[in-house]
Every structure is written in C-alpha cells, then in structure tokens.
Symmetry: C2
Subunit: 389 residues, 2 copies
C-alpha cells in the first residue's frame, strides 16, 4: 500500500482550474460560471464538507470571466470557506426561507463584468441545480436582461480531464479498495447475508483508510444476479450463488467505482464461462483505451467480445463512464457518444451481459488515459472468481 | 439492543400515503404530484436503491389525484421497481441524452385526469429538482396549458408526520447509534486524529447493524471547536481538546441525526460549564416539545437557557429541525418558523452556543412528538463529557 496523497490541493491547482474555465467561458460566450452543487463548489474552491447531506441551505459560487471566485454561502459555512483560496466570501444568516441568499446572489451576479450577457449554470444532462427552482426563477427574473445559459459543455471539458494531483487521489482509493477486495474472500462465509457481506467490505475499506462508501451495492442469485442496482438485501448466500459487490468509495472527495464477483461454493460452468467472457471483454476495453479512440470505440470493442461470448445484452445502457468527484461522470461508453479520449480522462471499463434468463455478469475496472494508452488504476480482478466455502 | 424492525413497509402504508396525498392535493388545487428525488420516489413507491449516487439518469414518479402512481424510470431500474407496490411502470433505455425520459414523461403527465390544470413539483424551500433544469423546461413547455406549481406545502404536510412504522425505523437507528457512542470512549485514544476517531465510529455503527453513515462529522479544538460542519481533518487529539462527533447514520432509508462531545484529558472549567449549560438547554427543549407548542417555542425555551448561561450566539441559524428520510427536514426550530407540533413529528433538539471566541458547544437529541409530550428516540447523552486518556 502506497502512502496516502495529501488531502486538498495547492493554490496553483485552483488557479489553473479557474484559468482554464475562463478560457472555455470566452469560447462559449459566457461572462461567468454560476454553480450550486457539491462537486462544482468543491472543484472551484476546494471547500470540503459533508454538510451537503443537509438539503436546507443553498450554496453558490460565481466565477466571473474577469476576476476571482465569489462564494455566496450560509453563515455556518464561513469558517470553512475562509480556509480555501477564495478571498471574496459573502454570507447570510441561513436558513431564512423568505430570502435564502436570493437577493445577495442577484447582487453578486449584477456585479459581473458583462461582455456576452450570459451566465453559465448547471442546466444540462447529468447536472442538478442544487437550489429551489422557485428561487432560481426569482434570480433569473431579477438579473434580466442578463440571462442564464447551459454551462454543461464548459463544465464537462473542465472536469473531463483530470490533473495529475486528481489522478493521484483516484489511484489511491482504487488501490486501497483493490486490496480490500483481495482480502474479502477471507472474511466472507457461506450463510452471510448480502447486507453482512457489504458491511464487511465497508469495514475493510475504512480500516485501509477510505473516507466512506456512498455506494456499496451487493446483489446475489443462484448462478447469477438479475440486476446491479437494487442490493444489498437480506438474502443469505448459499452454495451455487454468485455475489457481486460494486462500490463507489471515496478518498479526499474522489471516487473509485468498480466491482468484483464471488462464487459461494463451486460456480456452475455457465457462470464460469460468463466470468471468462466478461473478463476478456474488460481486457479488450483496457487495450482499446488510448488517445484518439472514442468512447464508442470502447463500447464496440467490448460488445464484440460479449456478443461472441453469447451475450443477450443488458439493461445498463452503457459499458462504463467517466469518474472523479462523482461516482459517474460524463462521458459514457455507448453508441453515439463519440467522445474522443485524451490524456487525463479517467474512465470505468464496465462490460456486462445477460448470459441466461435473469442472470447477469458485470465486471469493472478504472483507468486513466495516458499519452500512449492507459494506466490501470485498480488492480486487475482475478481471472477466476474467488470461491467462498 | 432491540431487534431490528423489518425493512420496507406493508402495502397498506403506501396506500395510506397515497390517500393522504390525494386529500392534500385536492385542498391545494393540484391534479397530481410529480417527484424526482430519492426521498420522494422512495416515500411514494418504497423503491430502495443506492443508485441515486449516480447522477446520470433521471427518475420520475407521478401520483395523480385519481389513480395509482406511475413510475417513469430508466430500464436499469425496472427489476427493482417491479418489487414495489407500483403497477404502472414505464421505462426508456437510459442514458439517452437526446431524450432522457422527456417525451415519455410528457405523455404520462398528459394522461393525468385534469380538474385544476396544475401539477405539483419539487420547486420550493429545501427541495431540489433532481433532473436537468433544461429538460424540466422542455416538459413544462410541452404540457402547457397544464402547469407546474410548487408542491412543497403538500410534501411537508405529508412527510412531516411520521407513521408508527417510520418512527420504528428512526428509533432503531437512534438506539444503535446511541449504543455506539456509549462504547466509543473505550475505543478512542489520545493521539488519534479526527479522521481516525470518525472511522472508529463508522465501524462501530456498522458492526451494530447500521446501513451506513452519509454524515460522520468530527471537529476538535483546544477547549472547544469553532464550527460543526468542516471536519474531520488530520488534527491529532491531545490533552485539553474537545471533540464533537455528529452523525447522520441510516437504517432502511431513515436517518438519525445527533452528536456527542468527548474531552481528551481533563476539560477546562469553561468547557465543563458550557457542556452543562447546553445539556440543560437540551432538557428544556425536550420538556417543551408537546402537541400545541411551536418550533418557535422550542427555540425560545432553549435560547433562554443558553443566554442565561452566557451564550454569544452561534452561526447555525436554528436549534434543531425535522428528521426522517433526510438528514434534515422541515420544520426548523427558529424564530418565525411557528410550526405547530403534532403527534408523529420527529425532530432534533439541537441547542448550541459560542462560549468563548472560536469555541462552540453543540448538543443534539432526537424526539418524536406524542399525544401528551414527546418520546426521546436517542439515549440521553451523559451529563458530563466522557474523558479520554
């Protein structure tokens, strides 16, 4: 286990993010970015808090094309924001439902130097505006003719390419969770429920230095599982069962997202064969990931191996996606996505298939695209499922 | 430790929620409720998944004033939704950025029997619309003259009063986290970092049967901490330090939200006095919680004890709040809130004060309002801080 990287980033990292953002804003005819969500406030300021779990108070950051970021936040967050590189912090005593930051935000947006008359906001695909929509309408009406526009293309370009320091944090959590998955067969037992298996994995990653596991999914079934989003449940694991554990575990705000499969007792020949097919599809996806290839190429390469191996499709809709401050990020490995890979993109390689009625097999690894191919951030899954009991 | 209650609810619970919702809709001139967020999809359907951690795919539920709920969801969620009481499930192959459920949702909303021409949506305070706002605009334009209106008052009335089965789940997680807090002093040691202390508490609650801890905040400082939202950090705990751990831990979708304070070495007289004042303010808040009292009464009662004890205020903005499917819910114990307590409301009693420059003391307990007072769901904090080392 390598030493944990530092939490947070040097000031230069944030200055670089702001500088790239200003360049992309200019190209997109935006005078400022206006963000409200945990990942975007964190990306631009470094503000690091679990307090986002409380939906009561909105938080705003405005990054003008000219000038430094402005944090418009509840008073409770001022001591924390003061530790970041942000120098311009405005606050109000929240919660104050009659005016929860609305008039303050209108004032800050009105101060933005205007050239295009457009403010970029989180309005597009995979984005959620974390403020009451009713308040967003109030702000929109108050700042007219200054107008909100969709900032999604700018935010994707910015966050889609990770800095070496960001990759370092993702690599760290991928490695520690890989080690936890490797140790897990020694802790699992016939008779464990899905819940118990997932709790053991949660404890294992915590004891290895993870911050927490916002996602720790476990699903099982005789000879295979029928979906990968609904577990864990109270089902007890018996001979012939296959268990998948899929986890989004974090370190310093960055996610890993990968899974491992476990056989309880000797797996059926069908399950072994499916594991082998999906393992080879994963290899093919990793081999295909290099600058110039597209997400659609990755999808096609993996799909060819899966179909040759008898895949009856699956209901996931894609074979992997971006990864970073969120469990899933743009882009998607799917037909029609056509995103061209460039160095610094962090992706999951996630082939899966239905190999018999009600039986799926899904694998997942995490990579970063490099100058001449990709680096595997996780430790490769075992070629054969570990057998429990 | 009492036995864990069952996960999920009998069908009658959901029928009752739908029936109350229809009554409140009629009073609010709404033809349907349209919800997008984890807590509201779960409240109306029972759909139980961690997959909300992925922001890629939107999920919709429409509950008409006449007729059963309609789930409009990505294909990946169909096997899970099919396990709930919802019979009408429509799906599309997501992600499909060019039409991620928009046309399907427009079709379902257009089928709603209309009397008022208004659909209630999550547009108000403490609500987040979990779908791209750009897509919401598309739906709004397509269904006109049918119009969206704010459903916040209806959703608050519905969720603000918990059923006995809901209270049972909250009581269970409050009790198991109370036991974990009671055991924690035996696990903490001088020299632990805030991170290590929080990890020990995370493991402790998991081993006692919690599902996870979306919120596990730890803050410390010499003689007191200066905020309650920015930890944990890498600060090592030494003699004279006060540590607060505040957790939102879950069981079967329901949260507890309370904290405990720990002294490392003998606490200063100031810190002891502050602990005593805030302890008594908590007692006063619990004593004041009964049907007919208001959230503002709770705030006033606690504030009087805090001010008599030398409080210099605090930056939290309220002294407790609702609790349930979310870490913090309506209402707030604050001046001007004026919500009248009724049996079944679950609240945190959370007095806090600045007792010296840069030093806060905050306590928190969870209660449910009963016919003639309230029931403490947590086990009362010790009257004096446990001393570590």
């Amino acid at each position: 286990m390598s030493e944990a990287p530092a939490r947070g980033f040097p000031r230069a990292e944030f200055e670089d993010r702001a500088e790239r953002a200003r360049r992309f804003m200019t190209e997109a005819d935006l005078d400022a970015l206006f963000v409200t969500s945990e990942q975007h406030v964190r990306y631009f300021t470094g503000f690091d808090s679990q307090f986002w779990a409380s939906p009561t108070r909105p938080w705003f950051v405005v990054l003008p094309r000219e000038g430094g970021p402005v944090a418009v936040i509840p008073e409770i967050g001022v001591p924390g924001m003061a530790r970041t590189w942000v120098e311009d912090i405005r606050s109000w005593p929240a919660p104050r439902p009659e005016d929860d930051g609305v008039s303050l935000l209108v004032h800050v947006l009105s101060e933005v130097p205007q050239r295009f008359g457009r403010i970029g906001a989180e309005l597009g695909p995979e984005m959620v505006l974390r403020m009451p929509v009713g308040d967003f309408f109030r702000v929109r009406d108050a700042i007219a003719p200054l107008a909100f526009a969709d900032a999604t293309p700018v935010l994707r370009r910015l966050r889609g390419v990770k800095s070496p320091a960001e990759v370092g944090k993702i690599r760290h959590v991928c490695q520690l969770v890989s080690a936890a998955f490797e140790a897990l067969p020694g802790k699992l037992a016939l008779g464990d429920t899905e819940w118990q298996a997932c709790r053991k994995m949660r404890v294992e990653v915590l004891e290895r230095g993870a911050d927490g596991s916002p996602y720790m999914m476990g699903m099982s079934g005789p000879g295979g599982y029928d979906n990968i989003v609904m577990g864990p449940g109270d089902r007890a694991l018996g001979g012939g069962d296959i268990l998948i554990i899929d986890t989004g575990t974090t370190f310093a705000g960055y996610f890993c997202d990968f899974d491992r499969n476990f056989a309880f007792g000797q797996p059926s020949d069908d399950a072994r064969r499916a594991h082998d097919v999906v393992y080879r599809a994963t290899d093919a996806g990793i081999d295909a990931a290099r600058p110039g290839a597209t997400t659609t190429d990755l999808w096609r390469t993996m799909t060819e191996v899966l179909e040759a191996g008898g895949s009856a499709g699956n209901n996931v809709g894609r074979l992997g996606h971006g990864l970073g401050l969120q469990l899933t990020e743009w882009p998607s490995n799917r037909p029609g996505d056509d995103t061209r890979l460039v160095p610094g993109m962090v992706l999951t390689i996630e082939p899966g298939m239905v190999f018999a009625p009600g039986k799926m097999m899904v694998h997942e690894e995490n990579i970063v695209v490099t100058e001449d191919g990709c680096e595997l951030l996780t430790r490769r899954a075992p070629a054969e499922m570990p057998v429990i009991g």
